[in-house]
């Protein structure tokens, strides 16, 4: 018998000139989490994710991006965060969707992230895979800008498998 609601909103944060926000007390009852962030920035800078307040060199990521002229790839290892690796529009909103796969499972945590940032003449589209080298369940997710502040919304959803 198929389940009822499987894709559930957990929390929505309205960002009004915010440089950081946290989804906290995340229950371990879902299979995956999805964060959707739709924002403008005062400076155009990107933001990053951290988990459970971990500010150590526990993160890494591999990114594929297109900038309207060329496709490229980059990597960061033993980093202090997972960088969404895309600027944020200052006049038009940019959209970011990050999937936190098996966030409460027993393996190190892998995320898949998408960025859509078109500025009518410039912009970035990317896909990214990130790693948090920690087998703990993710109970909090913090987004923080590299510079400037964000205005818009950040929503966290939970997905339950059968």
């Amino acid at each position: 018998m198929p389940a009822g609601a499987t894709y559930e909103p957990i929390a929505t944060t309205t960002l009004s000139g915010a440089s950081t926000w946290t989804f906290s007390s995340i229950p371990g009852t879902y299979t995956d989490l999805i964060a959707i962030v739709v924002v403008t920035s005062t400076t155009g800078n990107s933001f990053h994710w951290r988990f459970n307040g971990d500010t150590g060199n526990s993160y890494s990521y591999t990114v594929l991006e297109g900038n309207g002229s060329a496709a490229s790839s980059a990597r960061s290892s033993s980093d202090t965060n997972i960088n969404i690796y895309s600027g944020v529009g200052t006049a038009n909103p940019s959209m970011f969707r990050t999937h936190f796969m098996s966030y409460s499972g027993s393996t190190n945590k892998t995320v898949l992230s998408e960025a859509a940032n078109d500025k009518n003449g410039t912009g970035i589209v990317n896909r990214l895979v990130g790693l948090w080298r920690n087998t703990s369940a993710i109970t909090s997710i913090t987004g923080t800008t590299f510079a400037g502040t964000l205005t818009g919304t950040a929503t966290l959803y939970g997905i339950k498998a059968a």
Binding site: M1, D32, T62, V63, L64, S102, N108, V111, R127, L131
Partner: protein, 187 residues
């Protein structure tokens, strides 16, 4: 004979309160050559989505992958195109007349402590007039190596998809988890 871990659908019907529903899930057994099969998929959704984390049973620490087939079709009826990044450069490739759709960079070999992840959208899966298209997003990061991939797949068959077979490179390790979801359009 390839063994199969079947995660078919039990029970039937029931009004849904949601347009995104969990259909079935399965976990790897650690057995070589054991496929995972989602069978008896009802035609009541518009699209399907598979969400997975994977670690293969093959020894080593490198990148691995798995394959997707529909309705048990092992013929050369699949096509795919891929764009990927390896942390240094972006590349693209395509292949026709394949006997599966490859989900690249979706797993690691058994010596890794990490898992690959993938999200596969199977669009208009129940159509009986269209060949079937998949949209795939996958990646594996090993803190210094790994890949991020986007790809499209095509199954050259207009039959409604009633089963999905997931084939490992060698075997689905016990860290492997697959979940199948159905997405309904507005009534």
């Amino acid at each position: 004979m390839i063994g199969a871990l079947v995660a078919g659908i039990t029970g039937s019907g029931g009004a849904s309160l949601s347009s995104y529903e969990s259909i079935a899930s399965a976990t790897g057994t650690g057995t070589s050559s054991a496929n995972i099969v989602f069978s008896s998929i009802p035609a009541t959704y518009t699209h399907l989505q598979i969400r997975a984390i994977n670690r293969d049973t093959l020894g080593g620490t490198g990148t691995s992958l798995f394959y997707v087939r529909f309705n048990g079709d092992t013929g050369s009826n699949y096509v795919r195109h891929r764009l990927w990044g390896n942390g240094t450069s972006a590349s693209s490739s395509g292949a026709v007349s394949q006997s599966f759709i490859e989900i690249f960079g979706s797993s690691f070999y058994s010596g890794s402590t990490n898992v690959g992840a993938s999200i596969i959208d199977v669009l208009d899966y129940a159509s009986t007039t269209k060949n079937k298209t998949t949209r795939n997003f996958s990646g594996n990061d090993n803190n210094g190596s790994g890949f991020v991939n986007i790809s499209s797949g095509l199954w050259l068959n207009t039959a409604a998809i009633t089963s999905i077979t997931l084939v490992p490179e060698q075997g689905f390790g016990t860290a492997t988890q697959f979940a199948l979801y159905g997405i309904k359009a507005a009534a």
